[in-house]
């Protein structure tokens, strides 16, 4: 029982970290998309 609770908590921490990484990847994509759009607007 003790080990199960401990494992659940470690899994929760890992899930939170994974969520952070997922949003970080989306953030980098959004920033590069904005940069591409800004470059396109400048060229026009």
């Amino acid at each position: 029982m003790e080990v199960i609770i401990f494992i659940i908590i470690v899994i929760a921490a890992l899930l939170a970290i994974a969520s952070g990484i997922w949003v970080a990847i989306a953030l980098v994509s959004a920033i590069s998309a904005h940069r591409d759009q800004a470059n396109k607007e400048n060229n026009h």
Binding site: M1, S19, A30
Partner: protein, 474 residues
Amino acid sequence: MHTISSVVVVTAYVTVLTFVAVRARAALHFTEFSLAGRTLPLALVFGSLCATYVGPAFSIGFVGKGFESGFLFLGIGLAYAVQNILVGLLIAPRLRSLKNCHTLGDAIGQKYDQKCQVVAGIISVGLCAGFAAVMAKAGGIVLTDILGLPSWSAVIIVVAVTTLYTTFGGLRASVITDAFQFTAFAILLPVTLLLVLLFHLSGGAATFVKQASDATALGLGSTSLVNIVGLLAAFLLGETLIPPYANRALASRTTRISRNGFLLAGVFSVVWFTVMISLGIAARSIVPKDTGEDYILLTLVRYTMPAAGYTLLLVVLVSVIMSSLDSLLNAGAVAFAEDIVKPFVNMTDKTALNIGRCATIGIAAIAAAGAVAVPSIISGLLICYTIWAPAILPALIIGLWLKHPRPLAGILSMGVGTLIAIIFQFVSLPIKIPAILMALCVALLAYVLGHCIARPSYLVPRDSLDDGRRTMDE
């Protein structure tokens, strides 16, 4: 040496945050300022929603609760997860499907009439300023701890930096910086938990579970059933669709993204509460027993991390607060321009954008000044929760589901709900029922009364209708 490393870490963090905010670009149109062009993808809606609701209460506060009462608050926090999931399933898609809708006030205006929109706008702006004052106070407390500044100057720094990027970038800057801040705290605080569990907890899993069991028994013994019901009600209803959440529902790229963003945010809240409560439980065998509830996380990190790591985590705590503050400033400003000014003045897109920017600065100034008057973080938040739920929720939720909601019902519910909730802040109730539930019941009764005595809008002649109301042939 410690001060130098603190300044270096703070400067580096602010530089990266500024870079991210600049990359978000200044908003050129009001639709960009208010709804980020309605182009937000799922990950950003999710990250921004989580960054907005994870404020000081759901980080510093929950660690303190874990220390004091073990897993009790994890159970109570489940009500918050349920609320997010219900909003995702039932309300967010309906809200997103409304056309030309920038705010909750807009939604209420489309369903009822323009008068209801203005009342909803006034309540939204007032509540956003109130919530922002609480966040400003919390930011001031943490920054004072990092740099040793006087409290008033720490509040001004937190509010000024947040206002700067929110004023120019609007919702897009708010969402992009929220995502950055979410990344920082969603990685660093769980990593802190793992490090504490692996290297600082003597006795391992057995000690942790024993501490958890002792603390939970203590928490259940010292909390009455009425208190638990009141907390469950506050977590279930108090933050439901407050303006920043509604803005993110409206700014999603599609209805599906709007729904899934809330569903995932609900699931994440369970994960997050587990991490925060576990940090509090782990702290029981590390931190002195007489440490104040709001200082458990700070003390735990100070005891277990090197100086630079401690500063970095403090900066992350500031960003937890800033990510909530920027969302509130933007939502309040958009509500002011769209719901309070626009119904009376025919303005161009550029004028609306400028009014939104000025309102951001105005609400920030009110929040900084109001931070002094906030009694404490938790009590400040509870006051805002108690007013928000009865003031807006009955009119909004019933309005979204009824085919022909009646404006008198909306006005009565919002007016009476707000009034009763404010009165309950000063008058203690003779019977032990949570104020939020009592005020909500009164608001619902007022709604039913208004609905029964008003004429249905589809029977009113077209000439006598306001702009926002529908006619039978529509």
